[in-house]
Symmetry: C2
Subunit: 351 residues, 2 copies
DNA sequence: TTGTACGCGTTATCAA
DNA sequence: TTGATAACGCGTACAA
C-alpha cells in the first residue's frame, strides 16, 4: 500500500522537447538583462533591495522572454509549492460543487492552486490521496473527509496544516462547518411546530457525520416534544433517485405525516416519492430539506429547507488554511456569519 | 500582466520545520536499506535491473520510513509533473461539476492530479491561469474556454498538449464535445413536430460558443420549417433566476407558445417564469432544455430535454489528453457514444 | 547488478 | 546594492 508512485517499466517519458524553444530560466533573464542570477531572484522575490534601474532591466527581460518561474525548482528550494489539496467526496453533488468553487476562487486570489480530489466517501481513496498530496508538497489540505484524526496526524508531524470543512476530523483540527446538530433540531422543530408527530427521515450517505449529527438533532428535538421515534432510512448513494426510493419505502411501511430529507437532494427525492404515491403536498405530506441548493426553490412544491451558507463556508475554509500557513499575513476567518436559517416555502404545512 | 508570480515583500515563508521529522528522502531509504541511491532510484522507476533481494530491502525501507518521492524534484529531473490543468467556467453549474468529477476520476486512475481552475468565462482569468499552469509544468491542459486558438499556441510551442472539452478552441486543438448545432436542431424540431411556430429562446451565458451553436441550429431548423424568427434573450449570468427573468421578459413582450432553454438551468427558469405568469404547463406553454442534469427530472412539469452524455465527455477528454501525453500507452478515446438524444417528459405538448 | 557523481532551476548566503 | 556559489531531492550516465 502507498506505493502507487512506483512507475512501471514504461513509466518514464524522457522525450526531450526541442531545446531551441526550451523555457527561459533565470539564467536567460540574467543574461538578457545584463545582470546576475542573484539580482533576478531578488526582483522575483522582492525580499532584498534592488536598484530601480536593475529592477526595470530585469522586468523588461522577463516580459521579453515570457519567462515563467519553474514551480518545481522553486518548491525544491523554498519548501513551498503554493498548492493546496482539497479532499471532497464528490463534485457532482451541488453542495460540494458550490463549496469547491468558493474555495478555489479565494485561494487563487492569493496565488494558490488547488489540487481537487474526489474521495467518493471512501477511506481508502482518502488515504491514497493524502499520500500523493504529501508527495506534491502541498502547503495545506482542506478536507471533508470520513478519515479520522489519526490518519491526519502524520500531516501534522510534517508541518502540513489541515482544515476540516463541513465535517469535523478530530479535536485538534480546525473545523469550518455549521452546527449540524442545531440544523437537525431546526428541521424537526419546524415540523413539530406545525403539529407533526409522525415523522420519517430519509437521506444519504449514511456514514457522513453531518448527516448523523442532523439525525441526532432531529431525535432530540422530537423526544423533547413527545413525538414518536422517527422512522429513519439512510442509504449509501447520495442522489435524488436513490433517496426517493428510500422515501417510497418509508411511505409504504408507516404512517408519517412529514418527511425530513437530511439534504435537499434527499428531500427532493422524498417529494417525488410522495407524488408517486398519489399524495398531495403539502396537504398529505410535508417535506423539509437541508442546504438550500439553488434547485430547491424550483421543485414543486417549492422546498422548505434549512439554509447553510455554502459559499461562505468555502471562503472561510480557504481563509482558515491561509491563516495557518501564514498567520502574519492572513487573519483567521470570521465565523459569525456561518449560521443556519429556515427558508419557509411551500412543501410544509400544518397537519 | 503575467507577472503575478512576483512575490511581495513578505512573500517568503522560510520557517524551517523541525529537521528531526523532515521528510525521508532517497538518501534515507538507501541508508536504511543498506543499498545506494542508484539502487533505490532504480526500484522506484523500474527501468533497470535490480536483484530481487535488493528490491525487497528497498521496498521495506520505503514502507518503514513512509517515504514519498518529492514531486518537485522528480519533475525537475524528468520534466513531467503528473499534473493536468483543467480550465472550467465554474464548478457550481451542474454540468461542469459533473464534467469535473468525471475528468478527475479518470485522470487520478492513471496517476495524474488535477489543477482545477475557475475561469468565470473571463478571458483575462483564462490567460492568468494558463500562465501559472505553464509555471506548474503541467503535462497537459483540458479546457472549456472562451480563449481563442492563438492564446493556446504558446502551449503548443512548449510541447504542452491541449484538449478542448464542451467547446472548440481552434482547428488544431482536439475537441471532445457533442454537436451543439445538431442539439439546437433537435430541440427546435421536437417543438416544431408538436406544431409550435412561435418559439422563444432564453439562455446564458451569451458568449458561450455551445450556446451560440445551439442557437444557430434552432434558427436553421425553424426557418426550414417555415416558422417565424425566434425571439431570443441571452444573458450573462448562467443560473436559474437570471434566466427566469429573461424568460419573463420574453413572455411579457411576445406571444410564444414554446420556450427553448439553451441549457436545463435556463429551461427551469423558463418553467418558473411560466408559472409566475399564471400559465399552465405544458398546455399554455411548452418548454424544452438541454443537458439532462439530474434535477431536470424533478421540476414540475418534468422537463423534456436533449441529453448530452456529461460524464462520458469528461472521461473521453481525460483519455484524449492521456493519449496525447503518451500515445504508446493510451489509445485515443472512442467518440461514438458522444451522441445526443431527446428525453421526452412532461414539459412539452402539442399546441 | 551496483555505486558514484553530476545537473535540473531556483533561492539563500556570503563576500565584495 | 551586487555577483558568485552552494544546496534542495531526484534520475541517470558511467564506472566498477
Amino acid at each position: 500500500m502507498g506505493l502507487g508512485f512506483l512507475r512501471g517499466k514504461e513509466g518514464n517519458r524522457v522525450t526531450k522537447p526541442d531545446p531551441k524553444l526550451r523555457k527561459a530560466g533565470v539564467k536567460d533573464v540574467a543574461r538578457l538583462s545584463g545582470t546576475s542570477l542573484g539580482t533576478v531572484s531578488r526582483v522575483l522575490n522582492g525580499n532584498a533591495s534592488v536598484s530601480a534601474e536593475a529592477r526595470a532591466k530585469v522586468e523588461d527581460a522577463i516580459a521579453e522572454l515570457g519567462y515563467q518561474p519553474h514551480a518545481g525548482a522553486r518548491q525544491m528550494r523554498s519548501g513551498s509549492s503554493r498548492l493546496i489539496g482539497i479532499l471532497l467526496p464528490s463534485l457532482d453533488v451541488p453542495f460540494f460543487g458550490i463549496l469547491a468553487q468558493a474555495l478555489e476562487q479565494r485561494l487563487f486570489a492569493e496565488g494558490y492552486h488547488c489540487l481537487i480530489c474526489n474521495t467518493a466517501e471512501s477511506e481508502a481513496n482518502e488515504m491514497r490521496y493524502v499520500s500523493t498530496l504529501i508527495g506534491q508538497q502541498v502547503d495545506g489540505i482542506i478536507a471533508a473527509a470520513v478519515l479520522s484524526a489519526e490518519h491526519f496526524a502524520r500531516l501534522d508531524g510534517m508541518g502540513i496544516p489541515v482544515v476540516a470543512v463541513d465535517r469535523t476530523i478530530g479535536p485538534d483540527v480546525t473545523t469550518i462547518a455549521v452546527d449540524h446538530y442545531a440544523g437537525g433540531r431546526l428541521m424537526a422543530e419546524h415540523l413539530l411546530a406545525l403539529g407533526h408527530r409522525q415523522i420519517g427521515v430519509v437521506g444519504a450517505p449514511e456514514q457522513s457525520s453531518p448527516v448523523q449529527e442532523r439525525l441526532r438533532g432531529i431525535r432530540d428535538a422530537m423526544s423533547e416534544h413527545g413525538a414518536e421515534e422517527p422512522v429513519v432510512a439512510l442509504g449509501e448513494e447520495h442522489n435524488i433517485e436513490a433517496c426517493g426510493a428510500l422515501a417510497a419505502r418509508v411511505l409504504d411501511t408507516c404512517a408519517v405525516t412529514a418527511l425530513i430529507g437530511t439534504t435537499d437532494l434527499a428531500a427532493i427525492g422524498a417529494i417525488h416519492a410522495g407524488h408517486a404515491q398519489g399524495l398531495t403536498l403539502p396537504k398529505d405530506l410535508s417535506v423539509i430539506g437541508f442546504d438550500n441548493i439553488p434547485q430547491s426553490a424550483y421543485v414543486f412544491p417549492r422546498l422548505t429547507t434549512v439554509e447553510q451558507p455554502m459559499a461562505a463556508l468555502g471562503k472561510a475554509a480557504a481563509e482558515a488554511i491561509l491563516n495557518q500557513i501564514a498567520p502574519e499575513r492572513f487573519d483567521a476567518p470570521d465565523l459569525d456569519r456561518l449560521s443556519l436559517s429556515v427558508v419557509e416555502r411551500d412543501s410544509t404545512a400544518p397537519v
